[in-house]
């Protein structure tokens, strides 16, 4: 199996280099800042979010460094509290929630459904600016003395701890609009902008994932917005809804907070499911097993996701009745996620599996997300959660889901679509090394935390009892490996921008429209002609007839196969297509 993609495509004619593409048809800074092209907005988001991830990731390394010893090793409690709060807030609200939809959703989704652009391009650009405004407010919060409330802002503590909280809650309120805009845009795009012949049953599963995500974004985000407004009013006007000393109820705040923040977990993970389906289908060259089950389970998860928020509150003073109800529904939501995992594994069966970097990420995802899911079942068990709540078990559980799930899927997706976004190939060998380092580093970091939590190590502790030391040190060591892996990715990604090999139009032999009907670097309007869709998204067995082979010349001796005269829609698209 070829592991190196470098030496094959060099000799190939660079047909795609001629003519204009979305990167070179305009090049001024202003053309980027005022662009309404969904692909460019995706790139803008990509750069911004990479910076946020870098900042929040460095904070994580700092935290792990502090925890390398039981006492105070390098910072005071106050500093540590601010560091973990900022890590959580930035990762959740400014990185994970927007990440996949804003970067890959923006870039890929319209192409996958055969549209020229999203339904509301101006709104799309506005979403990026609104996001920037939110990020700016975050910086204001830092200048104002920082925030040490954790990402949950539980009252009454968040009311007593200074002005940074005001800025930070405003930041979350504002950044929420960016997500609403994106979600709203995608729903309308998927409903109204599909190319002729692109029926709901022919939608790629990434689109289904984005659709389910967008529903959650539109329905849940307004609630965190109003919750933040009420928290601000609580500080400014003392309205006494959440503050117990004024007659309010702190547990009510938790209801408001988790009504958004639990569905937000699905905002983060559903797009990852979408990417997974694309990767597994393409790199095993087979139709997704149980397409319908995967598509509909995404929507089911999105809806059920609104009924389980109370499982974050089993020991916070909510009624026993509601704990029981929430716990029961929590199990129902575990099942659709399980179905997906089984279906993905079944897709590998009798496929033609090609172990490129994106596929390695996909396989890591399957393993890591399974652990995330099983530990999720564990903390959903009422009496066991009493022991595990607010310990490192929870920390580890949600990192297995958020980092092992979302971030690993995002990395897989970035590698997969990197040729389409940049027109360059990354270095496959380094890619595999980094994927391996990330997998090992991740497990080394977070598996010890599962054990720590079960042994009773509470979360959000700057110092801890001596007997937890070894496991903490193991975890810190793992975070180092993880960090090296991630920086390696950053390094070769930047390197490939300049020195990477030119990418062909369809290096992986994928079957979705963005690979088969779009040039190596997409045209500003995506398609030369609107495609006419006559097949399912993963009909690889039709590859030769319908979309012109696409073995992926990166995997061997085949020459570059530019997509055939792309099957395009007739000039007058007709209803019965």
């Amino acid at each position: 199996m070829s592991t190196d993609t470098q030496n094959t495509a060099v000799a190939q004619p660079d047909e795609h280099e001629e003519g204009e593409n979305y990167l070179n048809h305009e090049t001024s800074v202003w053309s980027w800042l005022s662009t309404k092209d969904h692909k460019r907005i995706g790139v803008l988001y990509c750069v911004t979010l990479a910076l946020v991830f870098l900042a929040a990731g460095v904070l994580a390394l700092v935290m792990r460094a502090e925890l390398s010893g039981p006492g105070e090793t390098m910072m005071a409690n106050d500093t540590y509290n601010q560091v973990f709060s900022m890590h959580g807030i930035m990762m959740v609200f400014l990185f994970l929630v927007p990440s996949i939809p804003a970067i890959l959703g923006n870039f890929v989704l319209p192409m996958q459904i055969g549209a020229k652009d999203v339904a509301f391009p101006r709104l799309n650009l506005a979403s990026w600016y609104v996001y920037l405004a939110g990020a700016t407010l975050t910086i204001m919060a830092l200048l104002w003395g920082g925030v040490d409330t954790g990402w949950t802002f539980y009252t009454p503590y968040s009311k007593t701890t200074g002005g940074g909280v005001l800025w930070m809650t405003s930041a979350i309120f504002v950044a929420g609009f960016a997500n609403i805009f994106t979600g709203l845009n995608f729903i309308v795009t998927i409903h109204k902008m599909r190319a002729p012949g692109m029926t709901w049953n022919r939608l790629p599963l990434f689109v289904w994932g984005m659709y389910a995500t967008s529903i959650v974004q539109v329905l849940a985000t307004p609630v965190i917005g109003i919750t933040m407004v009420l928290l601000i009013l609580e500080q400014v006007l003392q309205i006494g809804i959440f503050d117990p000393s004024l007659g309010g109820d702190p547990v009510l705040f938790q209801h408001f907070f988790w009504f958004y923040s639990h569905p937000a977990v699905y905002i983060m993970i559903l797009p990852a499911f979408g990417i997974m389906s694309e990767l597994i289908a393409t790199f095993s060259r087979s139709r997704i097993f149980g397409y319908r089950a995967i598509a509909l389970s995404s929507v089911a998860i999105a809806m059920l996701g609104f009924l389980v928020w109370g499982h974050h509150m089993f020991v916070s003073g909510q009624s026993v009745v509601s704990s029981i109800v929430f716990s029961l529904i929590t199990y129902l939501i575990g099942i659709p996620s399980g179905i997906k995992v089984f279906n993905w594994v079944a897709t590998l069966y009798k496929g033609s599996i090609w172990l490129q970097t994106p596929m390695i990420y996909a396989l890591s995802f399957l393993f890591l997300f399974s652990i995330g899911g099983f530990t999720g079942i564990m903390v959903g068990v009422l009496s066991v959660d009493v022991h595990l709540h607010d310990t490192y078990y929870i920390v580890s559980h949600f990192h297995y889901v958020m980092m092992g799930g979302t971030v690993v899927a995002l990395l897989g997706g970035m590698h997969y679509w990197w040729p389409k976004i940049t027109g360059r190939m990354y270095n496959e060998t380094l890619g595999k090394i980094a994927a391996f380092l990330i997998f090992v580093g991740f497990n080394l970091t977070f598996f010890p935390q599962l054990v720590l939590g079960a042994k009773g190590m509470p979360r959000r502790y700057a110092t801890y009892a001596d007997r937890f030391t070894e496991l903490h040190q193991l975890s810190t060591a793992g975070s180092g490996v993880l960090g090296v892996g991630l920086f390696l990715v950053l390094g070769y990604a930047l390197w490939s921008l300049k020195y990477g090999e030119k990418a062909p139009a369809n290096p992986w032999g994928a079957a979705t429209l963005e690979w088969t009907n779009v040039a190596a670097l997409p045209d500003p309007h995506n398609f030369k002609r609107t495609p006419l869709i006559t097949r399912g998204p993963y009909d690889f067995h039709l590859a030769d007839e319908v979309f012109g082979g696409g073995d992926g010349e990166a995997d061997g001796d085949q020459g570059l196969r530019v997509p055939d005269a792309a099957p395009a829609a007739p000039l007058e698209p007709s209803r019965d297509a």
């Binding site: 503590y157 916070s316 716990s327 099942i335 009798k350 099983f374 310990t391 509470p458 959000r460």
Partner: protein, 325 residues
């Protein structure tokens, strides 16, 4: 496997929680190995041999799909039912339980026994059902004893409770698990499980705190009420001014630029109304909850602070306050 994962079990509910935990862990491990094994096997078995491979589409199997919906559903419902039963048990406080009050504040727990004894170590008798009636003076806190597998948040505006029956003598950890600010991670205490006799003896002896001398009482309060978290006795800088050499200082500078002499009046006011006058260079971070100290406790605390200074009592206008010395 239990030793690897879980801390020592020392309450009646712990074995129940543990067996459930281990059951879920075991089933998860089996499923994880199955899924990963199948995945790795397929990856090897069906690896791509030539770039032109066109595998034939696999027929979907309804039976397979239904089986992996139904089997997990049965499993999780089983687990839910199990967890639900022990959760209800955890919440049904037996009526005969011995009640201990827990007062939480930033960053300290105080335990109060029915006879009025207060303690900063939680003494509980072995083999007796004990109920903790908990409240907080400021923000949310959490009450967590890993060895007993009990946890519940402590709220400022209503009582919450947990109960347990300790089964093994020994010292165990007690942690605050709801993030509560700066010294959250230092808000831990010791739970000491002793035999019923020992417990009764301790309770009786501790009950005589009325007789101990004032400075001694102050010293106890200094550690019980969490003063040591912010005020050192050796002059080192902490969140609040050190008590060393504090009493009797004549050049104590305030944040508004004025200076004053540290006397009993000032100490008392600073304990009861910390926000009234702020020492230069410090922020007002002191909880307001010390106003619940009794007169005797206040006096004791002030006497204790006075002992930390070798200075003479301030000379002027101390008529009625020095009278108590």
């Amino acid at each position: 496997m239990g030793d690897f994962w879980l801390p020592e079990a020392a309450s009646t509910i712990a074995p129940e929680v543990d067996s459930l935990f281990l059951f879920v862990t075991a089933v998860s491990a089996i499923l994880l190995v199955g899924v990963t094994g199948a995945m790795l096997y397929f990856v090897y078995r069906y690896r791509r041999q030539s770039p032109g491979e066109r595998p034939a589409p696999v027929e979907e199997s309804k039976l397979l799909e239904i089986s992996w919906i139904v089997i997990p559903t049965i499993l999780v419902l089983l687990v839910f039912n199990w967890g639900f039963k022990s959760y209800v048990k955890m919440h049904a406080v037996p009526s005969e339980a011995y009640e201990i009050r827990v007062q939480a504040q930033q960053w300290n727990f105080l335990f109060e026994y029915p006879n009025g004894v207060t303690s900063d170590t939680l003494y509980v008798p072995e083999g007796e059902k004990v109920k903790m009636r908990m409240s907080s003076a400021d923000v949310l806190h959490g009450f967590f004893i890993p060895a007993f597998r009990v946890k519940y948040d402590i709220l400022p505006n209503r009582y919450t409770s947990v109960w347990f029956e300790a089964t093994k003598e020994g010292d165990y950890d007690l942690f605050c698990t709801e993030y509560c600010g700066r010294n959250h991670s230092e808000m831990d205490k010791v739970v000491r499980v002793v035999s019923q006799d020992e417990f009764d003896n301790w309770l009786e002896e501790a009950g005589t705190s009325e007789d101990i001398p004032l400075p001694e009482l102050g010293k106890q309060l200094y550690s019980q009420r969490g003063c040591q978290g912010c005020h050192s006795l050796d002059g080192s800088e902490m969140v609040g001014p050190s008590f060393q050499g504090l009493y009797g200082r004549t050049d104590h500078e305030m944040s508004d630029g004025t200076t004053l002499t540290v006397d009993e009046n000032y100490l008392r006011e600073s304990i009861l109304k910390p926000e009234a006058r702020i020492v230069a260079g410090y922020n007002n971070l002191m909880p307001g909850s010390y106003s619940s100290l009794s007169e005797r406790q206040l006096t004791g605390l002030i006497e204790f602070i006075k002992e930390q200074s070798d200075k003479e009592p301030p000379a002027s206008d101390q008529g009625q306050t020095t009278a108590t010395n």
